[in-house]
């Protein structure tokens, strides 16, 4: 475990065996503060007419501090939430270690306890599993793995939950942050997605952001990206829109070739990722930080430069919209075909 290292030490440690390593908000629960999972359904005595009374008791016992105060409520009771968590933990197939019953129980305990702060939402389980897996890879015998996972997970989710798991905030984020920056950086891509194909960003972004790229970019890439974010204590949620926009620019030519909005959506939800090298990740983060730190008036110029760097062979100063790009790509294909025939 490296989570007590100061950020600068992480730089030296930025090597092949990346780990989600830093508990940057210093959430420091200890093992015996985790409540065990009730083995039988929460009993409701007949004289207890109002079951919320029981839930109140449970809260009093288990919460010592409330780091979130998110203000969003859930009408689902503890039992049905536990059922959903159990079902999701059974479907946690990011690694074979999660078939082990003891490990499943650890994840269940972490999520059950976290549910006392923040109502469980599907997706928590995969982020929690990812952290557990990284700690497990560091030391499979680590006796503190459960509480360490809980603390890192809680720390990480402090910014992820309010931004991406509270639905109104997520929709607001998509419209007023993501869409805004997409338009500033690549107006043609904004028009293509939102005006031409009428794809509301939240439809596809929900999975990108809630799982922190896990499904879109794959586990190894996600670990590298998160590790870099967390090691250097970058604000994850502020950089995420730029990371996604850069990733979109990487598939801009594929997007241009889509025939209808179904094909566009399909591409956005099945992102064709490849394994990123450390250098690729470093570039991605560096470019994201550059965009984040630049004044808004500079973003369009930086967007053109990114297009030039990422998709070479297109005259980006002339190709201003996606229709033109599509024509350009068809023309190039035709020329290639003719040249091939001559040979």
């Amino acid at each position: 475990m490296k989570h007590n290292l100061p950020p600068q030490s992480c730089d030296q440690d930025f090597r092949n065996d990346y780990t989600v390593c830093l508990n940057s908000y210093k959430v420091e629960f200890v093992e015996n503060e985790l409540q065990p999972i009730p083995t039988t359904p929460t009993p409701i005595k007949e004289e207890d007419e109002d079951p919320s009374h029981l839930k109140q008791d449970l809260l009093k016992k288990s919460v010592t501090i409330d780091p979130l105060s998110t203000g969003y409520n859930s009408s689902e009771d503890v039992d049905s939430i536990l059922d959903v968590i159990k079902m999701d933990v059974d479907r946690l197939i990011i690694d074979s270690i999660f078939q082990n019953e003891d490990i499943k129980q650890d994840i269940l305990t972490i999520l059950y306890n976290y549910n006392n702060f923040t109502p469980y939402k599907q997706g928590f389980h995969e982020i929690c599993g990812l952290i557990y897996l990284e700690l497990y890879k560091d030391d499979p015998q680590n006796p503190q793995i459960k509480i360490e996972t809980f603390n890192i997970f809680t720390s990480l989710m402090l910014s992820v939950v309010p931004n991406f798991y509270i639905e109104d905030n997520l929709i607001g984020w998509c419209i007023s942050i993501f869409n805004k920056y997409l338009k500033l950086i690549d107006d043609s891509l904004y028009d293509f997605l939102i005006k031409t194909h009428k794809i509301e960003s939240q439809i596809w972004l929900i999975r990108w952001v809630r799982l922190l790229f896990l499904r879109e970019l794959g586990m190894q890439n996600t670990i590298k990206i998160l590790d870099k974010f967390i090691c250097f204590d970058y604000d994850l949620c502020k950089l995420i829109p730029f990371v996604i926009i850069i990733q979109l620019l990487k598939i801009k030519l594929n997007l241009a070739e889509c025939e209808d909005n179904g094909e566009v959506l399909s591409l956005l939800l099945h992102y064709p990722h490849t394994q990123m090298t450390n250098e690729d990740v470093k570039n991605l983060i560096d470019q994201s930080i550059k965009l984040f730190k630049s004044p808004e008036s500079e973003l369009s110029k930086l967007g053109v430069q990114l297009n030039k760097d990422i998709n070479k062979g297109i005259n980006w100063d002339k190709v201003k919209d996606m229709d033109r790009l599509k024509m350009e790509l068809r023309l190039q294909k035709k020329v290639r075909g003719l040249l091939g025939r001559k040979k």
Partner: protein, 203 residues
């Protein structure tokens, strides 16, 4: 095999939506329909997933865009975007889980709040291969569907029982509805309706 083919040649596009409680097998039905695969432990759907398959009905090629939704998201405002433009909705429950069947009514109400009035619904009891674990009889499924006024099928993504039938049946009903709407418009005795669509719902 019917994997996602970027087939340009199609006569129409239909957007279908799978809804129902978490774990009833929505993603498995979709995976079976589009890729003819089955995986007993399938990852949880977060937000939506999306697959495309082009089918042929009465000589017409129909591109089906099937949206698979997350079971936990029933009450969420974000789901309203999923319902927009859906021509067919598949309400799924698990025949081995009574609770998911009881929730069908809630899903039905949610669908009615968000979908167009002319969206075609179909009720599906999945996992009908699990004979020993069955908790909801076919008769109960049938009778609920009758009460809701929608067609009904039982299916199994695992054994591939009735999966194609489900999607074809729904697509066919939608096609027929579209045809009869067209006929209705063209049989207006020459009265020009200015291609105005009749507003069925309130305001």
């Amino acid at each position: 095999m019917a994997t996602r083919t970027p087939s340009r040649a199609y006569d129409s596009i239909l957007k279908l939506l799978l809804v129902g409680d978490s774990g009833v097998g929505k993603s498995c039905l979709l995976l079976r329909f589009v890729e003819d695969k089955f995986n007993p432990s399938f990852i949880t759907t977060i937000g939506i997933d999306f697959k495309i398959r082009t089918i042929e009905i009465d000589g017409k090629r129909i591109k089906l865009q099937v949206w698979d939704t997350a079971g936990q998201e029933r009450f969420r405002t974000i789901t309203t975007a999923y319902y927009r433009g859906a021509t067919g909705i598949i309400l799924v429950y698990d025949v081995t889980d009574e609770r998911t069947f009881e929730n069908v009514r809630n899903w039905f109400q949610t669908v009615h709040q968000h979908a167009n009035e002319d969206t075609q619904l179909i009720l599906v009891g999945n996992k009908n291969d699990e004979k020993d674990l069955r908790a909801v009889s076919s008769e109960r499924g049938e009778s609920l569907a009758q009460e809701l006024g929608i067609p009904f099928l039982e299916a199994s993504a695992k054994t591939n029982d009735n999966v194609d039938e489900l999607f074809f049946k729904l697509a066919k009903i939608i096609q027929e509805n579209n045809k009869s709407n067209e006929n209705l418009n063209s049989n207006n005795g020459g009265i020009n309706v200015n291609s105005r669509t009749e507003s069925k719902g309130c305001c």
